[in-house]
C-alpha cells in the first residue's frame, strides 16, 4: 500500500524552480538586417546575468508582448561568451512584430530546448553542412564551433542554397569562412541575377559534385522538408551512411517542452526528441503527406 495513491508523489521536477512556461526577460542589444526579410537579433538578459548556455542546433521560444511566442533556433556561437543570437525570417505575425523591435525593447525567452547537432561525432572526421534558406541559421553554431577549434575536425564542406543572390545569409562570414578556415564553401541560388556568376540550381546539385570522399563523414542538413529529403537521398547515393546524416525538423510548437502535443511527427515529439534527428530515425516519415 503506497502512502498516497490517489495523489501523486512528486518532488517539484521543475528545473531550478523555474516554471518552463514562464519566459525570462531579455533586452534587444542590436538588430542587424541580413536581407530584405531576414534579420539577426542580439539579446542579453535584462537581469544583467549571462545568456543560458546552449548547444548547436537548440532553439528558444521567443515571446513578444501580447503577440505570440515562436520557436527559433539559436544562431550564435555556442562556445564563446556573447549575446544570444537569433536569425529570423519575417513570415507572419510574430516574426513581423519582432522585426519592428528596437534596441532597448525587451522580449521573453524560454529555453534552450531540444536536441543538438552531434558536433562531437565530427571530431576527427569530415563535416558536410547542407543548408537551404533560413536553414543556415541553426547550422551557424556548428560552423562557429568547428572553426573555433579547427584542428579537431577534418575537412569541412558547406553547401548552401538560397532562393536568390540577395537572399544569401551571412555573406561576409561566408567569404571569410571560405577564405581562411580551410573550409569549402559552395553556394547556389534558385534564380540567378545580373552580376551573379556563381552556381544556379538546387542544393542537391552541389552535393553531387561536392568533394566528399572520406567515409565516416557526418552530414548535417537543415532547410525545407523536401530539400532535406532530397539532400539526404543524394548523400546516400554518394555513399554516406544513414546513421551519419542528421536533419532538423520543424512543426508547430506551443510549449517547446513536450507538453502541448503540437509538434508530434509520427511518434516523435520534435521539441523533445528533436529538432535534430538522425536521418534513419525519421526516414520513413519524411516522404509521407500530412504527418
Amino acid at each position: 500500500m503506497s502512502p498516497e495513491p490517489g495523489s501523486i508523489n512528486l518532488t517539484d521536477r521543475i528545473r531550478g524552480g523555474v516554471d518552463p512556461m514562464v519566459p525570462r526577460i531579455y533586452n534587444v542589444e542590436r538588430i542587424r538586417r541580413n536581407n530584405h526579410d531576414t534579420f539577426t537579433m542580439e539579446l542579453n538578459p535584462a537581469d544583467g546575468g549571462n545568456p543560458e548556455p546552449f548547444s548547436a542546433g537548440q532553439f528558444n521560444m521567443l515571446y513578444i508582448f501580447g503577440v505570440g511566442e515562436i520557436p527559433v533556433s539559436i544562431s550564435g556561437d555556442p562556445v564563446q561568451d556573447g549575446p544570444l543570437m537569433h536569425t529570423i525570417r519575417e513570415v507572419g505575425t510574430v516574426t513581423r512584430a519582432m522585426a519592428r523591435l528596437k534596441p532597448g525593447d525587451s522580449i521573453g525567452v524560454r529555453g534552450p530546448f531540444g536536441s543538438h547537432w552531434p558536433v562531437e561525432l565530427a571530431v576527427g572526421t569530415d563535416v558536410v553542412i547542407v543548408a537551404g534558406g533560413i536553414g543556415l541559421a541553426p547550422l551557424r553554431p556548428v560552423i562557429y564551433q568547428v572553426t573555433g577549434n579547427r584542428s579537431r575536425y577534418g575537412r569541412m564542406v558547406l553547401l548552401y542554397g538560397a532562393r536568390a543572390p540577395k537572399e544569401i545569409l551571412y555573406q561576409r562570414q561566408l567569404k571569410a569562412w571560405g577564405g581562411s578556415f580551410d573550409m569549402d564553401v559552395h553556394v547556389t541560388v534558385d534564380r540567378g541575377e545580373r552580376g551573379w556568376n556563381g552556381e544556379i540550381g538546387v542544393v542537391t546539385g552541389l552535393i553531387r559534385r561536392a568533394p566528399l570522399d572520406r567515409s565516416g563523414a557526418i552530414a548535417l542538413i537543415c532547410g525545407p522538408e523536401i530539400m532535406m529529403r532530397f539532400s539526404a537521398q543524394e548523400l546516400l547515393r554518394r555513399g554516406m551512411d544513414k546513421d551519419r546524416i542528421y536533419v532538423s525538423m520543424e512543426r508547430n510548437m506551443k510549449c517547446g517542452v513536450g507538453l502541448c502535443g503540437h509538434c508530434q511527427y509520427g511518434a516523435k515529439i520534435i521539441c523533445k526528441d528533436g529538432p535534430v534527428y538522425r536521418y534513419d530515425d525519421i526516414e520513413s516519415l519524411l516522404g509521407r503527406r500530412e504527418v
Binding site: 500500500m1 503506497s2 502512502p3 498516497e4 495513491p5 490517489g6 495523489s7 501523486i8 512528486l10 517539484d12 521536477r13 521543475i14 528545473r15 516554471d19 518552463p20 512556461m21 514562464v22 519566459p23 526577460i25 533586452n27 535584462a46 515571446y63 508582448f65 501580447g66 503577440v67 505570440g68 511566442e69 513570415v91 507572419g92 523591435l101 528596437k102 532597448g104 525593447d105 525587451s106 522580449i107 521573453g108 520543424e250 512543426r251 508547430n252 506551443k254 510549449c255 517542452v257 513536450g258 507538453l259 502541448c260 502535443g261 503540437h262 508530434q264 509520427g266 511518434a267 515529439i269 523533445k272 509521407r288 503527406r289 500530412e290 504527418v291
Partner: protein
C-alpha cells in the same frame, strides 16, 4: 475489506469535508451525468442508468435505489487538474520594458468520488505525460497533489465501454484511496470497500460497519465477473500498435474523413488527451498582455499550422493523427497505450465514429 453502508458513505464524505477536501462527484444535469461539486451523498444521482452507443447517450430511471448503475458522462476528471482554460502569466509593459507576473499554481485538497477503474488509468496516463517527464506542467502538478480518490468498480458497464480490452477495468487494482463495489440495490445498497492508502484505511475503519463476509465477497466477485463479460465493445490490441504505425496511407483514413467532422469532441471528451495551445491578448492601452493556456485538439487546423498552411489539412489526416497517437505512437512516447477503453470518444462523437471499429478496419487490411 470492509462493508460500507450508505450512512458510512456519508460519514466518509463528512470527514473529508471536515479535513478541508473539496468534494467532486457525479451529478445529474441536463440529461447526463456530469462531474461537479457535491454537498453530500444525497446529491449523487440514484436509480439511473445510461444507454450509450455511437453518438448517443440517454439516461433512464431504473426504478430502484442503485447508486452507481450508470457509467461515464462526457466530462472527465482531467478538467480538475488540467484545466480547460488556465491563465499562465500577465505581462506589463512600460515603454519597451516587460515585466512578467506568473499565475501562481493553486494547490488544494480535493476528493474525487466515484472514479471508475478506467479513469484511474486515465489519471495515471496524464500524470505520466504532464507530471513525470523532464519538464512538468506545474499547474497540473500543484492541483493534482492532495487528491483523495474514492473509486467505484463497475458492475454495469456502458454500451461503449471496452476497458477489459485495454486492461484497465472493470476492477480498480491501484491508484485509489478507497475502492467500492456496490452490492445489490432494491433499497439495500451496500458496498464492499477496500483501502488503498493509510488515509483510506483510517476513514474506512471509522465509517464501515465491519469486515466483509465470505458471501459478500462471493457476490462481489460474481458481479465483477459478469461486468467483465458485458462490455459494450472490444478491441483486439495484440499487435495493434505496430500495425497502426504502418498504416499511414491506408484508404480507410479517407473514408473516415467523409464522416468525421473534425469537431474535436472525441479529444475533448477523452480523459487522456492533453493537447493545449496558448492565447495571447492585450488590453486596449497596450500596457498589459495576458497569456492563457486552453485545451486544444489535433482536429483543429491551427494545431499543425506552419506559416503557409496546416500540415494536416484534411480531416482524414487529422483523424489518423488522433487514432494512431492514442493507440500506437503513445506506446513509443510514454510506454503504454493512450486509450483506457472508456468509450467516451464513441458516445460523444456527434456522428458516432467508433474508435474500435476504425482501428479494426485499418488493422484488418494494414500493409505490413
Amino acid at each position: 475489506m470492509f462493508i460500507l453502508e450508505p450512512d458510512g458513505f456519508e460519514k466518509i464524505l463528512d470527514s473529508l469535508r471536515e479535513k478541508g477536501y473539496r468534494i467532486t462527484g457525479p451529478k445529474l444535469r441536463d440529461g447526463a451525468i456530469v462531474l461537479d461539486t457535491i454537498d453530500s451523498a444525497a446529491s449523487l444521482p440514484r436509480g439511473v442508468r445510461d444507454h450509450q452507443g455511437p453518438g448517443r447517450y440517454r439516461l433512464e430511471e431504473t426504478g430502484d435505489d442503485s447508486w452507481f448503475s450508470y457509467t461515464l458522462g462526457s466530462d472527465s476528471w482531467k478538467k480538475l487538474f488540467f484545466h480547460p482554460i488556465k491563465p499562465l502569466f500577465k505581462t506589463t509593459r512600460d515603454g519597451g520594458l516587460l515585466q512578467i507576473e506568473p499565475e501562481p499554481p493553486r494547490e488544494g485538497l480535493k476528493a474525487l468520488i466515484g472514479v471508475r477503474p478506467c479513469e484511474l488509468q486515465a489519471l495515471a496516463i496524464q500524470d505520466k505525460v504532464l507530471a513525470e517527464g523532464e519538464f512538468v506542467d506545474r499547474h497540473y502538478v500543484a492541483s493534482r497533489k492532495g487528491t483523495f480518490i474514492v473509486a467505484v468498480n463497475c458492475t454495469v458497464p456502458g454500451g461503449t465501454c471496452f476497458c477489459v480490452s485495454m486492461g484497465t477495468g472493470p476492477v480498480a487494482d491501484r491508484g485509489y484511496d478507497i475502492s467500492l463495489t456496490e452490492l445489490g440495490s432494491n433499497g439495500a445498497t451496500r458496498f464492499v470497500a477496500r483501502a488503498g492508502s493509510p488515509h483510506g484505511e483510517e476513514l474506512l475503519a471509522a465509517a464501515s460497519s465491519g469486515k466483509a463476509g465470505e458471501s459478500d465477497l462471493q457476490l462481489e466477485a460474481e458481479l465483477l465477473e459478469a461486468a467483465a463479460g458485458n462490455m459494450g465493445r472490444s478491441l483486439d490490441v495484440e499487435g495493434l500498435a505496430a500495425a497502426l504505425a504502418e498504416s499511414g496511407d491506408h484508404p480507410r483514413w479517407e473514408e473516415v474523413a467523409e464522416r468525421c467532422q473534425a469537431c474535436t469532441n472525441c479529444t475533448m471528451a477523452c480523459p487522456t488527451c492533453y493537447c493545449h495551445t496558448v492565447e495571447d491578448s492585450t488590453d486596449l492601452t497596450g500596457s498589459v498582455a495576458d497569456r492563457t493556456r486552453v485545451w486544444d485538439s489535433c482536429f483543429t487546423a491551427d494545431h499543425s499550422y506552419l506559416h503557409g498552411g496546416s500540415v494536416r489539412e484534411t480531416r482524414g489526416a487529422r483523424y489518423r493523427q488522433w487514432l494512431t497517437h492514442k493507440l500506437s505512437s503513445w506506446h513509443d512516447q510514454f510506454g503504454g497505450s493512450g486509450c483506457t477503453g472508456c468509450g467516451r470518444c464513441i458516445t460523444w462523437c456527434p456522428v458516432g465514429i467508433d474508435i474500435t471499429e476504425e482501428a479494426q478496419a485499418v488493422r484488418g487490411t494494414a500493409r505490413g
